[in-house]
Every structure is written in C-alpha cells, then in structure tokens.
C-alpha cells in the first residue's frame, strides 16, 4: 500500500511537471506572420513599380484586369493566388440587361444616343467604354449583366442575389415601388420642375463628375434639349474643310473642342463626324455645367430628397435617387430616375453617367474561392488630367 502511494506520488508529480513545463520551454515560431508581412511588402512594391513605370495605367485603360492579374502573379511565388478589385472607375465593357419590351429597349438606346452599332462605344477620360446589351430580356437569364435596367415597377424580391453579386438595378419611371431598394420616400407638396445634380453627397457628386465628361451623340438634323427648350443641330464643313456644327440655323460655326453657350448652359463639342460615306453624320457633345437645370414638365408624384438624391429640386424634392451597400454583405447598387423621355438628350447624358457609376462595383477579376488567411493591400492612384482617381484592392493568399 505504501509503495503504491509512492508510485502515485511520482506519477502525479510527473504529470504536473510535464503539464507545466511546456509553458516555459515551448517556443512558438511566427513564420506565418513573417510570410504575410513579406508578401504584403512585395505586393506594395509591385503596385508602386507598376504605377511608376506606366504599366498599371496601360492595363487599367485597356480594362483587362485578368491580364494584370497574370502579370502580377508571374512576379510572385507560385503558391500565391491574387484577386484584384478596382474602386472608383467604370468597367470598359458594361453589360446591360434590359428587362423590357423591344420598344422599350429601342427607347433606352435612343435615350443613350445609340442608333447604329458603332454608337455602343464612346470615349471617356482617355478610355474606350463599350455598352453591351445582353440578348435576353428575361431577368432570370441576366447572370452576366453588370447593370439591369427596366421601365416601371418590378418585383425584385427574387433577384436580391444579383445585388450581392455586385450588379445594379436601374428603374426608369414615375411609379413608386421597391422603396427600400431604391431609397424612395413619397412626400406631399408642390414640386418644382427644375432640379440640379446634388453635389453635397459623394456618390451623387461622382455621378456629376461623369456627367460633365461623358459625351452624348446627336445625329445631323436632329434635336437636343437644353432645360425646357429644344435645339436643332446641323453638321457642316467649313471653308477650311474642317468639320463643324451649327445650332438652330444660326450662321456661327463651332468646331471640335469649342465650348458653346446655349440658354446660359455651356456645351462642349467633343467630336464631329461629317463624313457621309458611312451614312453616319453626327456630333458628340456634353453639357459641362455641374449646376445644369434639368427640366421636367410633370414632376409628380413628389419624392423626398435626401443624402442619396442625384437630382434635387430647390424645394427639397428628388427626380433621381441612388442607393448602395444594399445587401447585408454591403453589396449592390440601385438607381431610380423619373422618365424624361427618349428625346431628352440631357437626360440621356445623365443616364449614361448613372450606368457608368452603377458598373463600378463589378470592375474586378473573376473571383475564386479565397483562403480565409488572406492579406489585403490598398493602393491609391491619384487622378490627373484625363486619368481619374481610383483605388486598387489586392487580395493575396497562399494556397499551400
């Protein structure tokens, strides 16, 4: 019995020693932190070097993020995977799903100044942007779309996953529905017919920045609107054989790069095509006044303006609302805008700007399954001249 107790004592003391000692003798290595720190340093070095060498800009201008991803991957160890997200600029190819009838689709295209297949492409801040309409009008088949546009109300409850995928909904119409998604609140009162782009909030301000830069195409002998007045545009060739335009049959000739003031509003002439051989004679113009007054003859029903209002009347009503961070994961964008009519090219210019803004969230590489121990690097490219400010978010992780 005595011996048994001694052995029990020894066993207990050994258990205690073996239990406690590892706390004093164990030595935990922090290899993973070093690996991540060095990877993070490499990513930052690569982004700065790419930016300074001009390589980054060439990839962004061409819009091919997957090629940029391959280039960066070739510099990193083979066991590192990366994903790239660009914040603050639109995609180069914006896929639009029009959940609408054929007549509505044509109406939408006319609003955007699209009459021929060449009109789907336009130039913006040194980049070529292409609007690509999906071949389907069924919302269920719009998995590829970046932006889904429709006229009037839709029940979107079955398509909230689209928002989580970073897609955007744009609703054009005077009806009120899906108030939560589109951030709409009805309000009684007398609504002014004039509204301006709201510069007091960041996202509406950014749409305003697109608005003054984006061109809208006006074909020869057709009309465009400034506020509540329609004006005619004629493409001409001057005495020096240079392409020009004349407005409202006035004798003055205006050339590419000129800024014309019409009804107190500045219009910039961005391009003129006077060559009749292809049957397309047109001018690309932009309203470049940020405080331009959008006119709407029948502004009812009244929608209350808030910090997410794009077009705001002086008496606090809204003609266009936006929303973002809609889903619980903080994804998705939505815009509601009143129906101004297809002949209103000022509205078309704004709608184009809204489409550009709405597509931003999907400017990223094809996402794969990301390891939970990923590291993130942010790099800000500041905008100068024709370039624009944007933020690159690089996610990297070891696959083994």
């Amino acid at each position: 019995m005595k011996g048994f107790i001694k052995i029990l004592e020894v066993v207990l003391s050994l258990l205690l020693i073996f239990g406690i000692l590892p706390f004093f003798t164990s030595f935990s290595k922090s290899n993973e932190e070093w690996d991540n720190a060095l990877l993070s340093l490499s990513l930052r070095d690569i982004l700065i070097s790419l930016d300074k060498s001009g390589i980054l800009k060439s990839y962004i201008v061409s819009g091919n993020l997957n090629e940029l991803k391959n280039y960066i991957s070739s510099l990193l160890p083979a066991n590192v995977m990366i994903e790239i997200y660009i914040n603050g600029i639109p995609k180069n190819v914006i896929k639009i799903g029009c959940n609408c009838t054929l007549e509505e689709k044509i109406r939408l295209e006319r609003s955007l100044g699209i009459y021929f297949s060449e009109d789907y492409t336009f130039s913006l801040r040194g980049r070529i942007i292409r609007l690509e309409f999906l071949n389907t009008s069924e919302i269920e088949k719009m998995g590829n779309a970046d932006v889904i546009i429709f006229f009037g109300c839709r029940d979107l409850s079955k398509y909230l996953n689209y928002l989580d995928e970073g897609k955007a909904f744009i609703m054009i119409g005077n009806d009120i529905c899906e108030e939560k998604i589109f951030n709409i609140t009805l309000r009684d009162g007398s609504v002014s017919s004039y509204s301006q782009i709201n510069s007091n909030s960041l996202e509406p301000f950014r749409i305003g920045e697109y608005f003054i830069d984006v061109p809208i195409r006006i074909y020869n002998n057709s009309n465009f609107w400034i506020k509540d007045i329609s004006h005619s545009l004629y493409v001409c060739i001057d005495n020096n054989s240079l392409p020009c335009i004349r407005i409202d049959n006035l004798p003055q000739e205006h050339h590419i790069g000129d800024t014309v003031i019409i009804d107190g509003t500045r219009i910039k002439i961005r391009d003129i095509d006077a060559d009749e051989s292809d049957g397309r004679v047109f001018a690309d113009i932009s309203i470049i006044d940020r405080n331009y007054n959008f006119y709407l003859p029948n502004p009812y029903p009244g929608i209350e303006a808030n910090e997410k209002t794009i077009l705001k009347t002086l008496n606090g009503f809204s003609f266009a609302q936006l929303n973002y961070f809609i889903t619980q994961h903080g994804n998705g964008r939505a815009v509601w805008i009143k129906d101004f009519g297809e002949e209103r090219k000022d509205f078309g210019e704004l709608l184009k700007s809204i489409i550009l803004w709405a597509s931003e969230e999907r400017f990223k590489t094809e996402t794969q399954k990301i390891n939970k121990n990923f590291i993130e690097t942010y790099y800000l490219v500041s905008g100068i001249f024709e370039s624009e400010p944007y933020l690159i978010r690089l996610i990297a992780f070891y696959i083994y």
Partner: protein
C-alpha cells in the same frame, strides 16, 4: 530488509531520471531553435534595411558610376527606380569591391550578402556578393523599375 533496494524506490528514481533527461532535451532543443529563429529574424531585418537603401537611396555622389568614388551606397535614381549605371558598377563585383560595399552598408562582420537582380522571368541580370554552401541564407525579395521594366531584387543574407 537492510541493504536491499525497494522496487518502488527504483521505479521512482528511474522515472525521475527519465523526466530530467526529457526536460533537459526539450530545453536544449528549444534553446537551439530559438537561437536559430533569432538569427533568422536578424538576417531578415538586415536584409530589409539594405533593400530599402537599394530602392530609395541614390547614394553619394548622387550619380556615382564607379565604386572608386562612391561615399554612400544606394542604387536608385528616384524611389523605386534603379540606376543602370550604378548596377553596372557593382555587377560581378570582386572581393575588394564586395568588401567596400559591405563596409559602406555597415553589414556586421559575421554576415555576408548576395544580391541578385532578375527580370520578370527570373533571369539574372545583375549579381554581386558571396556564396556560402554551408551557411543558411535568408532571402528578402523586393521589386523596382529598371529602364521602365519591373525587376526583382533578391537579397540573400548569410
């Protein structure tokens, strides 16, 4: 009975000796590992410090092109842009030039370095330093621009 060892005692002493041996082994093993890790960390920090100098510092004189007249080491023209002339001056450096660079960088006497600059496809374009077959090397990899192209700076510290 006197003069006879109790079996309990023998067992207890045996267990005690085993435990002491095991603990001693663990302590020595961890001490060795810790020493090795500290050594690696020092090499990483030294490598990082030198790589920063390579990428950000022009050296003195600013546009030096020969190790004969350089007073302060640095391989850049501007941050993240390397100078072709400076790289030519250190390429395939002799022992004498290696020691001069080591002295300019204040690398501790017990450490050595190996600098290999490769292009995007990992093909070496510049090299300077010494190689030891038996000593452990710790690599620090940085990136910079040379004549408009991205290059990889591989800096190994022994």
């Amino acid at each position: 009975m006197k003069g006879q060892l109790n079996i309990d005692f023998i067992l207890a002493v045996t267990l005690f000796i085993i435990s002491i041996l095991f603990i001693s082994y663990r302590v020595m093993q961890n001490a060795f590992l810790m020493r090795s890790e500290v050594d690696k960390e020092q090499k990483r920090l030294l490598g990082y410090a030198i790589s920063t100098l390579i990428i950000f510092d022009k050296g003195y004189p600013e546009y030096w092109n020969s190790l004969d007249n350089v007073q302060k080491f640095g391989l850049s023209l501007s941050p993240y842009t390397l100078s072709r002339d400076k790289l030519n001056a250190i390429n395939n450096c002799s022992y004498e030039n290696y020691n001069k660079i080591k002295n300019l960088l204040s690398v501790p006497i017990e450490n050595d370095f190996l600098l290999i600059i490769t292009n995007q496809y990992n093909e070496p374009i510049y090299k300077c330093g010494v190689e030891h077959k038996l000593r452990e090397i710790i690599w620090v990899r940085r990136f910079a621009i040379l004549d408009g192209n991205i290059v990889k700076i591989n800096l190994g510290i022994y």
